[in-house]
């Protein structure tokens, strides 16, 4: 390419981007609403192009999938609670810029500890006591699982993203190993534990199987919110996350804060593992967490680490997931269509952040148009 050296000014690009100054809440909500609307339209367009089905039918079907029957609503709430809980669990670590990608494994070892309690001492203790023992076992197991990468990070500055990610696979293999140990038939499927005695199962509140789970997660939401926003430890987490240098300057023991926060993050994953076993599955497979540990990362980010916003993000994502399943069965479409639509919506929501933070300008054509 030949460069014209006599040209004094450099050409400006046609489109350029500037950072916005503070927006009012109203403005930012308007932008978000517009972006979501655009997302829905895009989804409709994609649906027509891919399947030729009326997009309104597809949307109706999605709503049916989440809110069609009381049972579906309870299922939605239960999924939301689990996803929200795990999102809350990863958030303290994220706020500290400790990229914990190991929630999947941390919840799984928590579940394993609970199931192990049911399996080994399930008959020896009354159910309420067993449930409490399970809670502590799960918290301990998950905290250890998170604490190992945490200690390595604090002491030798290892990469926590890879470390926690790898721990997920170790956790899965560990579960497979114990299932093999516990199931003599070799079928590799651990059925429901204590189906008759229901020892170690959460009681149904007001006849609702999932109500207790939802209440526990609701309390957890408040606790995590208060911890991060109002407590001294939460403040230390923010300072360490924003600037380790400032933390050192002010006399915060950075290593100690890292380890403490990661242990808390792990412990909360343990609570979620306990809920999954005692309040939902009463069993375990190596895939019991079902990717929620990863989706939680997205929820936490989308919500800017704010526990209250996470409630809505979790509902939305669960709604989309349930809807996608419903489309597949209702309209006899390939299940991938639902997933494509879910993907588009999530992408659009995340990209709305871009429009909230930046402004796109089109440059007017300059006179005497310069050729490249």
């Amino acid at each position: 390419m030949q460069r014209d050296h006599t040209q004094k000014k450099r050409r400006e690009p046609l489109v350029y981007i500037t950072k916005r100054s503070e927006l009012s809440l109203k403005q930012s909500l308007t932008i978000r609403a517009c972006v979501i609307l655009a997302g829905i339209l895009l989804c409709a367009l994609v649906t027509i192009l891919l399947t030729g089905v009326n997009p309104l039918r597809v949307f109706a079907s999605m709503i049916e999938g989440s809110f069609g029957t009381p049972r579906k609503i309870w299922n939605l709430l239960q999924s939301t609670a689990i996803l929200l809980g795990i999102s809350l669990a990863v958030t303290p670590a994220f706020k500290m810029r400790f990229w914990n990608t190991g929630a999947e494994g941390q919840v799984l070892v928590g579940m394993l500890a609970s199931v192990a309690c049911m399996f080994y001492i399930g008959d020896a203790l009354p159910s309420w006591l067993l449930i409490i023992v399970m809670l502590f076992a799960s918290i301990l197991a998950s905290a250890v699982w998170a604490g190992i990468p945490g200690i390595f990070k604090a002491m030798w500055n290892t990469n926590e993203t890879l470390f926690t990610l790898m721990m997920n696979y170790v956790a899965m293999q560990l579960v497979s190993f114990f299932i093999m140990l516990w199931v003599p038939s070799g079928s590799m499927v651990l059925g429901i534990v204590n189906p008759q005695s229901k020892n170690g199962w959460f009681p149904s509140l007001f006849g609702q199987q999932y109500l207790l789970n939802i209440l526990i997660v609701a309390v957890m939401t408040i606790l995590v919110y208060v911890y991060l926003k109002k407590s001294k430890q939460g403040y230390e987490i923010s300072v360490v996350g924003e600037s380790e240098n400032t933390a050192r300057y002010i006399g915060i023991n950075v290593k100690q804060v890292i380890i403490r926060t990661v242990l808390i993050s792990g412990a909360l994953c343990g609570v979620m593992g306990w809920i999954l076993v005692a309040g939902a599955d009463h069993s375990i497979t190596s895939n019991s967490v079902g990717g929620n540990g990863f989706t939680a990362i997205m929820i936490s980010w989308m919500s800017k680490f704010n526990p209250i916003v996470m409630i809505f993000s979790s509902i939305l994502v669960c709604f989309l997931q349930k809807g996608a399943g419903q489309i597949a069965s209702d309209l006899r479409l390939n299940s991938s269509v639902g997933e494509v639509l879910t993907g588009i919506m999530i992408l659009i929501i995340i990209s709305s952040e871009f429009f909230v933070n930046y402004r796109i300008h089109l440059r007017k054509k300059q006179k005497g148009g310069q050729e490249a």
């Binding site: 460069r3 050296h5 006599t6 040209q7 004094k8 450099r10 109002k230 407590s231 001294k232 430890q233 939460g234 403040y235 923010s238 300072v239 924003e242 600037s243 240098n245 400032t246 050192r248 300057y249 002010i250 006399g251 915060i252 023991n253």
Partner: protein, 514 residues
């Protein structure tokens, strides 16, 4: 006489209202080494960045080989055979020397390691470099990395080489080696510009010297006709009166006694070398020196952020009359000893404050531990934030706006305001007026004077010699991690300090690097 390689005529560059370079003229012949001399912030690097295409001058012209040149990008500079070796190396750690050398070259055909190695060996032999092309960057010493950077520009066929403070990171032996190489390149007909502020190196190496001061072109002298005193005078200029009111210290008492402290950085180079001094109450102790001479490490060592190899830092508590050794204590331990130490670090937003937090949260940094509650107490910091906004006239939408959005002067007011609020007995401030306008600067001087009158021992690290001479009571001059002198600010001259700053003291242990 040889031909002109590069000539600058009337170069001016402004950044907003700041004039970084004003009407600078400079001429380098082929086969010549030119030193660009000036204090910190005198515009040396800006000028060189314009030659290497990083900036574009607002006014003036650049001629290369006698022809008008337009340099819009580093790529253009490379087409004009200009090569710049930056102070901070730009190398890929995991790549070998050879890979780094060819990185970014738009050569046709496949990358041939053997071919590159041969060329590198050729260049090395010609100029006397000592380098293994297959060695990875992360295994290299600082001096070897610099060699790679130099070979990188020679490989690209550079005829005009610009080196930005090349000796700042080198040991005396490595410096000598580098100078030999540079002389060989000069003899080969290359034009070389080195940016430096070490006078003895200027005199030893270069053919002529261009001096800049506050962005202004002061003049050009032939090295043969120059000596250290002439150059110092050109560099620091005449004394400017600033009218800062300065009172005599009242009943000064030893507050901090630093004795024989030593400190090495991560590369193992000594950054503090046998430093001893005393800071007294009711007195402002200035610290003068070229940037990076150990000022930061010194303050951080006192604040408990830097590990020391030897020596002691004794603090005399005026309340209890007790003596505490602060060496290798953590900042928290220092506080718990009852030492009321306030520190305004150089990096305001990266160390002194949290940029993304508002004023209230930043006030809390010092005080949040108070009390036994596990929850934060926000009313006191809120009060303090309001008080600082009022008393220091901080311009901010409110106390919750992230402080990084405030202007430099306001950020400094927030930081200094917080540090003074804890009524210190020892206050350290590193470059507290850097980047501030005149009014904010005077406000900061007043605040420091107020603290001095209250009997605080103030340590002021500064770069502007006029300010140091008018504000401080005594000035400690630091050069290459060593104290090169302590002067009385009321009687000392600018030249005296300028000379002490650029004086390099090599003691008997100068050989310990080999």
């Amino acid at each position: 006489m040889s031909k002109t390689a590069i000539e600058l005529r009337g170069i001016t560059k402004r950044f907003g209202s700041v004039v970084a370079n004003h009407n600078v003229n400079l001429k380098v012949y082929k086969g010549e080494i030119l030193s660009l001399l000036g204090e910190n912030g005198s515009g040396k690097t800006t000028l060189m960045n314009m030659i290497s295409g990083i900036y574009h001058p607002d006014e003036g012209e650049i001629f290369i080989d006698g022809k008008l040149a337009h340099i819009h990008s580093p790529h253009d500079a490379f087409n004009y055979k200009i090569g710049m070796i930056h102070q901070h190396f730009k190398l890929v750690d995991l790549f070998s020397a050879a890979e780094n050398i060819v990185l970014g070259l738009e050569e046709k055909g496949k990358f041939n390691v053997r071919h590159v190695s041969e060329r590198v060996a050729e260049i090395s032999a010609k100029y006397g470099f000592d380098i293994d092309p297959n060695k990875k960057i992360y295994e290299m010493s600082v001096s070897e990395k610099q060699t790679v950077e130099i070979i990188k520009v020679l490989y690209r066929g550079a005829d005009i080489l610009i080196l930005d403070e090349p000796t700042a990171v080198l040991t005396p032996q490595e410096t000598k080696k580098l100078f030999d190489v540079l002389r060989r390149m000069r003899d080969d007909g290359k034009a070389i510009i080195i940016i430096t502020h070490k006078l003895h190196e200027v005199l030893e190496l270069s053919d002529k010297v261009v001096v800049l001061r506050h962005g202004e072109y002061v003049g050009t002298v032939n090295t043969a006709e120059a000596n250290e005193h002439i150059l110092t005078e050109m560099m620091v200029g005449k004394k400017v009166e600033l009218n800062i009111t300065r009172k005599a210290p009242v009943n000064p008492q030893d507050r901090l006694v630093v004795e024989h402290i030593n400190c090495r950085n991560r590369e193992g180079i000594k950054v503090l070398d046998d430093v001893s001094f005393v800071a007294r109450s009711g007195e402002i102790l200035g610290i003068a020196g070229i940037a990076g001479s150990g000022q930061r490490e010194l303050l951080e060592a006192i604040a408990g952020l830097q590990k020391l190899e030897e020596g002691s830092i004794l603090y005399y508590n005026p309340k209890t009359g007790e003596e505490e050794n602060l060496r290798n204590k953590t900042p928290l331990q220092i506080r718990e000893l009852g030492v009321r130490l306030s520190f305004v670090p150089e990096d305001r937003l990266g160390m002194g404050l949290v940029g993304n937090m508002g004023m209230v949260d930043n006030m809390m940094l010092r005080s949040y531990r108070k009390g036994n509650s596990i929850f934060l107490e926000r009313s006191e910091p809120e009060k303090l934030a309001k008080q600082i906004i009022e008393e220091l006239e901080v311009v901010t939408p409110d106390a919750e706006t992230p402080v990084r959005r405030l202007s430099g002067g306001n950020v400094q007011k927030v930081l200094l305001g917080r540090e003074i609020a804890s009524s210190p007995t020892l206050l350290m401030a590193a470059y507290p007026v850097r980047g501030l306008d005149i009014n904010s600067s005077y406000l900061i001087y007043d605040l420091l004077n107020e603290q001095k009158e209250k009997g605080v021992a103030v340590i002021f690290v500064g770069e502007d010699l006029d300010v140091l001479l008018d504000l401080c009571d005594r000035i400690l001059v630091i050069g290459n991690g060593r104290i090169t002198g302590v002067v009385d600010a009321r009687t000392a001259t600018k030249n005296e300090i300028g000379y002490l700053m650029t004086k390099t003291v090599y003691k008997e242990d100068a050989n310990d690097a080999t």
